[in-house]
Amino acid sequence: MSILIGADSRILVQGFTGKEGTFHSTRMIEYGTRIVGGVSPGKGGRVHLDLPVFNSVAEARAATEADVSVLFVPPFAAADAIMEAAAAGIRLIVGITEGIPVLDMIRVKKFLSGTNSLFLGPNTPGVISPGRAKVGIMPGPIHRPGRIGIMSRSGTLTYEAVWQISDAGLGQSTAVGIGGDPVTGLSFVDLLELFRADPETEAIVMIGEIGGTAEDDASAVIRNGYPKPVFAYIAGLTSPPGRRMGHAGAIIEGGTGRAENKAGILAEAGAVVIPLPSEIGTTVSAYFKRNDPS
């Protein structure tokens, strides 16, 4: 098993016929992902990568029974595409697009709160269940099927963590990027709950970074007795304070946002804090060897 996606997920690509959509759809199909079609308004009726193209998500969903969509649309059109997918009943919407205005994401969150759709991202590499389905832009070959759940706010740093874990002889149940933007859809807290219920996942690696309170919110879940070990690395210990965080943001976030604070809160809550990015794979594999010497 895995979270969010699996071998039976039926995936739609929004922005299918564009350059990005074409490139990454090809990679996803090569990986074995079940892409069932795409949406490109105005191109409905065509065939692209041997798959049907539709003018709207509603039409595409009716024809293909897709339950997941992944977006390769430009920032100005992204919010509309997400809301269209949600209105059409898509269960999981994955927003790869980088550079969406924050207000658009706030609108999207409000809109989605009235639906049953989940949104992952934006500015995420996506989600992969190794060996089953890849919904996003991550390099497939570094992944291995396994029992570690990975969740991250970063793109390439996730690949680094995945690579280290694969290199250490372990694998991933699911690797998920929640996205690097200030306002995201699914949060670390949401993913912790999904991983909690996933029997395949035996441990979680969380890759955080400075800014916001996503890691602090996750700490609260861990503190309340989380049944699986959580390993955490927080990037940005050396990042200069004040450079990336808005002034009034700090007050809302209660003065938090520094990497050392996040790491401290996580450690106190019971997570295993990994101090250096180079030690993610070794730390997790040492834990598994200790607890499961077979």
């Binding site: 920032p75 100005f76 980088e98 550079g99 205005p101 924050v102 207000l103 658009d104 994401m105 706030i106 609108r107 969150k109 409000k110 590499p125 832009i137 991550m138 390099p139 570094i142 991250s152 706010r153 970063s154 793109g155 390439t156 740093l157 690949y159 680094e160 690579w163 690097g180 200030p182 306002v183 995201t184 890759i207 970074e209 400075i210 800014g211 916001g212 309170t213 996503a214 919110d217 990037a235 940005g236 210990l237 050396t238 990042s239 200069p240 004040g242 808005g246 002034h247 009034a248 943001g249 700090a250 007050i251 809302i252 976030e253 209660g254 003065g255 101090p275 250096l276 990015p277 180079s278």
Partner: protein, 390 residues
């Protein structure tokens, strides 16, 4: 994008928010003329893109034109050093000359994105003139909040509630509600990240007046607000940061001696952490991003080595969309073009890593390959200690 105080006030004024009479000047003579027309007592406020001005001496009262001229002259000769400017401080290129206002009390009004909840919050406090973070910490009961629904906007009853919470009555309460509504509208209509009025003063005459204001817009939304595009030639911008921005890269100067060129913000931060853990000091944060071209890599490398403090460069690329071979080609081009002899360490993983390594190996360039981030950081630190720029 953060605006200077006078631009922030101009924006808020369009939403019905009252501001003091004033004029922006770039010479002491114009400061004197402004003081002449504004009346006897004026305030001179240095216009710099950083907070903490007041304590740093960037705000002066003046009595009459001659006093204004003298004080403006002194300000124009100063570099202001505040906790937000860095040690070298910032030059004062313009001064806002405003009527001096006598007031009874100061309030705080602000709006910002609550990242954790994914919503916009409007904050009001009767404790103005001090940082809202401090009030939130020391006297949380004195900070009042209302959500601004992104579709609905701030409803009149919400503005009224905040105005009443400030302890205002009668005309002032009505005026405060209008100001609060204006802040909410300005926030939504301009894709703001932060709007603050601090202090909002209640003058001796019983009027509310925004004495200081801050407006920060979401850079990602500037395509919807073409009028607000920042001028291409901001004289106060760090030249390396500006050069990086022009080719679409994100560069932040960190002040150490190991230049960094990394793909992805998280990996770039992690690389800096790894360098520091290895005993080195990162010179910069350079994220070449996800959709980078060979040209941009070349420009990025040139920007990194343009920092005279850089004694070694660490290139850490985990190929995803970015292909390592493309990065290799950019590096080779840049070193050939600049003839830079600074030692560099290259760590490639992911998409086309082998191809990238092969290209570098075949190029004849002197560089240290590394397999892992840890190894790369150690080699870079060693190179920075041992190497010298030629």
């Amino acid at each position: 994008m953060k605006f200077l105080e006078h631009r922030a006030k101009e924006i808020l004024f369009r939403y019905g928010i009252p501001i003091p009479k004033g004029e922006v000047v770039e010479t002491a003579a114009r400061a004197a003329a402004a003081a002449e027309s504004l009346g006897n007592r004026v305030v001179l406020k240095a216009q710099i893109p950083a907070g903490g001005r007041g304590r740093a001496g960037g705000i002066k009262f003046a009595l009459g034109p001659e006093d204004a001229r003298a004080k403006a002259e002194a300000l124009f000769k100063t570099r202001l050093i505040t906790p937000q400017t860095g040690k070298q401080g910032l030059p004062i290129r313009s001064i806002l000359v405003e009527e001096a206002v006598s007031f009874r009390s100061e309030f705080y009004i602000g709006a910002a994105v609550d990242r954790s909840q994914g919503r916009i919050v409007l904050l009001a406090s009767p404790r103005g003139g001090i940082e809202i973070e401090e009030t939130a910490r020391t006297k949380p009961d004195a900070v009042f909040r209302e959500e601004i629904d992104p579709f609905v906007g701030l409803l009149p009853y919400q503005a009224r509630r905040l105005a009443f919470a400030l302890g205002l009555t009668g005309e002032s309460q009505t005026q405060a509600a209008a100001i609060i509504t204006g802040v909410a509208r300005a926030f939504l209509q301009n894709d703001a990240s932060v709007i603050e009025i601090n202090p909002l003063a209640l003058t001796d005459e019983g009027r509310l007046l925004a004495l200081d204001a801050k407006v920060v817009l979401d850079d990602n939304a500037l395509f919807r607000h073409p009028d607000f595009r920042p001028p291409a030639d901001d004289p106060d911008a760090d030249p390396a940061e500006a050069a990086a921005a022009r080719v679409g890269l994100n560069y932040v100067r960190l002040g150490g001696d190991i230049g960094c060129l990394v793909n992805g913000a998280g990996l770039a931060m992690a690389t800096a952490d790894q360098i520091q853990a290895a005993g080195g000091r990162p010179a910069d944060f350079l994220d070449i991003g996800g959709g980078v071209s060979e040209d941009a890599v070349r420009e990025g490398f040139k920007i990194v080595v343009s920092d005279p403090g850089v004694r070694a460069v660490l290139i850490n690329v985990f190929g995803g969309i970015v292909r390592c071979d493309l990065v290799a080609r950019g590096l080779i081009g840049a070193t050939k073009e600049t003839g830079a002899r600074v030692p560099f360490v290259v760590r490639f993983q992911g998409t086309n890593a082998a191809e990238g390594r092969a290209l570098l190996a075949a190029s004849g360039l002197a560089y240290e390959p590394a397999e892992t981030m840890g190894e790369a950081a150690k080699k870079a630190v060693a190179a920075a200690r041992g190497g010298s720029r030629s």
